[in-house]
């Protein structure tokens, strides 16, 4: 009996040991050193995280800067430079943040509450998300060297998520830099607390970042964009390579270790290329046709509903994704499936109906007489042009007259701000981490959605603190969206990245790439 017990114990221990060994092979294999060469599509307009919503700035800046909070793998806020979650007063109007002590900026200075207050105020004055939050903020002040207090004018549920969003982020800068560059002026000194510090920026050649040796990682395990971050590589070399075909060739030859934003048509080639790992980046964008609701034909809701009813999304998405089923997804939720807390599974929504009779009926009810609808798109983003072209064919079959206007991106982003110049334009919607951040649902973004019911629901969502109630409100928003049709939601398109086989530790589930916790095994 005792022998049997001993045998079981040995067997159990062996299995446990095997499991442990199997689960941590990477931990043993992690190597420090080397230069990771990343090819991206161009230059960032700035590395000032407060200043722009440009994706490329987000990706680069998030290696240099950190905020008080970050997002975990479920897109929920987790502490980063804050010690823990804030203390919230009973009335929900005061948030008290305790800061981590001994955190150093890249210039050697210790981060204190003075830096945090100055940075948040600058972010609140310039950033898209900062402005939204600061409309509800009465004051942000330093209580002591390591404590910051935020007082609100009204109760709101968006404090933490706004501080955690990586795009146009609430990055913490040294106070001296904040004092030097007013909010409307791009900062040209880039000092943060992140695991990498900026060494050199040579436009059109490279941006070089080096490991910040005084970086103090958090103790919690890495999760999403947050948790424990370790810079294994000595240097990150970001090389702008504007031509997508060149990026593909460079990853094949090993001139690049990682390449982002690749042409979807290269998917098969990369999959079959030895030593290369193709990565499907999800989420990327859901494709969208944004209607001008301020003036012109598309102010007519019936016409927008007809557009929505006419479309057969699957062939459009398949074509845009180069025929690869793995590179797109059919989904009607306004939040991506990867953003689990806000992903809805509502049935019976009028999405992807491809009901030509219904579309024709709605066109009649709208009083539409074949007036040309100015549909603006660009060839600079091939996927935009492709889905606009395919939509035109389907819509004209249903009785629309589409005047497809192909312009360059700079023209499109200018014209879309002028309600006289278009009826519809194409773009893509990335990940929004809170329902109140979906820009196309509000009146301040091109297309100008100003619907009474949507405004009411969104205002309630901003106030309500209980997640379950918020989710129900979000479902109501989604139903109202499909009735009002402020924009036409197509399917989810995924992105394509690739890396060499020796690049280890990369979290392929992240929407935007991060290279902390990544090492080179060669």
């Amino acid at each position: 009996m005792s022998h049997r017990k001993t045998a079981w114990a040995i067997l159990t221990l062996t299995v446990l040991a095997l499991c442990l060994t199997a689960s941590v092979p990477d931990a043993a294999a992690q190597k420090k050193g080397g230069v990771l060469k990343v090819g991206n599509l161009g230059e960032p307009p700035t590395l000032d995280a407060h200043w722009t919503t440009a994706t490329i700035t987000e990706v680069l800046a998030q290696h240099i800067y950190e905020g008080l909070y970050s997002l975990d793998a479920r897109s929920q806020p987790i502490p980063m430079l804050a010690e823990g979650m804030p203390a919230v007063s009973k009335d929900g109007l005061t948030y008290t943040f305790k800061l981590r002590q001994g955190i150093k900026f890249h210039n050697g200075k210790e981060m204190t509450s003075a830096d945090v207050v100055a940075s948040l105020n600058r972010w609140g004055a310039q950033s898209t998300y900062g402005k939204t939050l600061y409309a509800r903020v009465a004051e942000v002040r330093a209580v002591d060297k390591y404590t910051v207090e935020m007082k609100l004018k009204e109760k709101t549920a968006i404090v933490l998520i706004s501080l955690a969003i990586p795009n146009n982020a609430a990055a913490i800068y040294p106070k001296e830099i904040v004092d030097k560059f007013k909010p409307a002026e791009k900062a040209t000194e880039w000092v943060g607390t992140g695991p990498f510090k900026l060494v050199e920026w040579k436009p059109d050649r490279h941006i070089k970042m080096a490991r910040f040796d005084d970086y103090q990682p958090r103790k919690e395990a890495a999760s999403g964009y947050g948790g424990r971050k370790i810079a294994y590589v000595n240097e990150l070399l970001w090389i702008p390579v504007p031509d997508a075909a060149t990026r593909v060739a460079q990853i094949e030859t090993g001139e690049l270790d990682f390449a982002d934003d690749l042409d979807l048509n290269a998917y098969e080639r990369l999959k079959n290329s030895p030593g290369v790992q193709a990565i499907v980046a999800k989420p990327y964008y859901w494709l969208v046709a944004v209607f001008n609701k301020k003036e012109g034909l598309m102010t007519n809701q019936k016409l927008r509903q007809a557009w929505q009813a006419a479309l057969d999304m699957e062939p459009i998405m398949k074509n845009v994704a180069g025929g690869h089923r793995e590179l797109y997804r059919m989904d009607s939720s306004l939040a991506f499936a990867e953003n689990a807390p806000w992903h809805t599974k509502l049935q019976g929504l009028p999405w992807n109906e491809h009901d030509r009779d219904k579309a024709k009926r709605l066109l009649r009810e709208a009083g539409y007489k074949g007036e040309p609808i100015r549909f603006m798109t660009t060839q600079e983003y091939k996927w935009m042009y492709d889905f606009a072209l395919l939509s035109k064919q389907q819509l004209e079959d249903a009785g629309f007259t589409i005047d497809l206007q192909v312009v360059d991106w700079a023209t499109l982003v200018k014209r879309r701000n002028n309600s006289k110049e278009y009826d519809v334009f194409t773009t893509g919607m990335g990940n929004f981490y809170d329902p109140t951040h979906h820009i196309y649902l509000g009146p301040n973004w091109p297309g100008w959605t100003d619907d009474e019911e949507l405004n009411r629901l969104l205002a309630e969502l901003a106030r309500e603190g209980d997640y379950k109630k918020r989710f129900m409100l979000w479902e109501q928003v989604t139903r109202t969206f499909y009735d009002r049709v402020p924009v036409a939601r197509y399917g989810d398109l995924f992105g394509l990245r690739a890396m060499r086989g020796y690049v280890k530790g990369f979290d392929a589930t992240l929407m935007r790439p991060r290279f902390h916790n990544v090492w080179l095994d060669k």
Partner: protein, 299 residues
């Protein structure tokens, strides 16, 4: 020059597009865009912007790039070396292929040499530069692994790496440009070889090699130098496609990205530089004429 800068200023400002909307990113709202336009002075009337541009130009100031956050002169200076190196290398290849091909084809008009070389020249004119570049990359870099796909190394810091990076772009660009030089050289040779003094040289019993190289070639050279001058000027303006495909951080790539971003000061700066280079090259070509042909004298 005044005409050039004015026309460029007006053209770039009159085409639609907004640098600020590009810089601020896709999620920026109208208020943010307006604020940034005010900050950059883009909300001022066009004539006021033009007058400010003239005033800056008189002080030798080309302005500041909206996107790159640095003076335009600095941006131009940083990109001058790659473009000049590419230009010199491509020109070398173009002359090396074009001039001998044109001479041989002209001297042996109607022969297989002539037909073969002119077919190659026709290909050089017809084949798009990007297609040739991508095929070179696929063959020599991806399949054979002999040369790097793309990039740039300074010739002053690492000449070997610089040569490896520059070989494919110089050959693909030089091949394209050599076609025009070869065709001009051929027709000039044919024309010169019909002249009386060539007949005289042959009648004197000179060797055919001496007739071609000593008597015909030098006289055929004046139009060829003109074409080489034009080619140089084109290359100074930036071999846009080559610089993009081979990821060379030169002036061609700069102007394309500046146009796409509506970075007005940079576009104006590159065009101004190109115009000045055209003038300088024309002057140099005129000087070279006088050296080649002693009959040419400038008052």
């Amino acid at each position: 020059m005044l005409v050039v800068v004015t026309v460029v200023f007006l053209l770039i400002h009159l085409i639609p597009g907004d640098p600020v909307a590009v810089i601020l990113g896709p999620e920026a709202n109208a208020q943010q865009i307006e604020d940034a336009r005010r900050e950059l002075g883009l909300d001022r009337p066009l004539h006021e912007q033009l007058l400010r541009f003239y005033a800056r130009l008189l002080r030798g100031d080309l302005g500041r790039s909206y996107f790159l956050d640095r003076p335009v002169t600095q941006a131009l200076w940083e990109r001058a070396e790659p473009t000049l190196v590419l230009m010199a290398a491509a020109l070398f290849v173009a002359v090396l292929i074009g001039v001998p091909s044109g001479i041989v084809a002209g001297a042996y008009q109607g022969s297989w040499w002539d037909r073969g070389l002119m077919t190659l020249a026709l290909l050089g004119v017809c084949v798009p530069g990007f297609w040739l570049s991508l095929n070179f990359i696929y063959l020599f870099s991806v399949r054979l692994g002999w040369l790097p796909v793309a990039g740039y190394a300074s010739v002053f810091q690492d000449p070997v790496a610089a040569a490896r990076y520059m070989l494919l772009p110089a050959v693909s660009l030089g091949f394209n440009q050599s076609a025009l030089i070869a065709r001009i050289a051929r027709s000039c040779m044919i024309e010169v070889l019909r002249q009386d003094y060539i007949r005289t040289a042959r009648a004197k019993g000179l060797a055919e090699r001496s007739v071609i190289f000593l008597h015909a070639f030098r006289n055929a050279l004046v139009p060829v130098v003109t074409v080489i001058g034009i080619t140089t000027a084109i290359l100074i303006g930036g071999a846009v496609v080559t610089e993009i495909v081979f990821n060379i951080p030169g002036l061609g790539r700069l102007i394309i990205s500046a146009i796409l971003r509506r970075d007005y000061p940079v576009v104006q700066g590159v065009v101004l530089l190109t115009a000045a280079a055209y003038m300088l090259i024309n002057l140099m070509v005129d000087v070279v004429y006088a050296h080649i042909d002693p009959r040419i004298r400038y008052a």
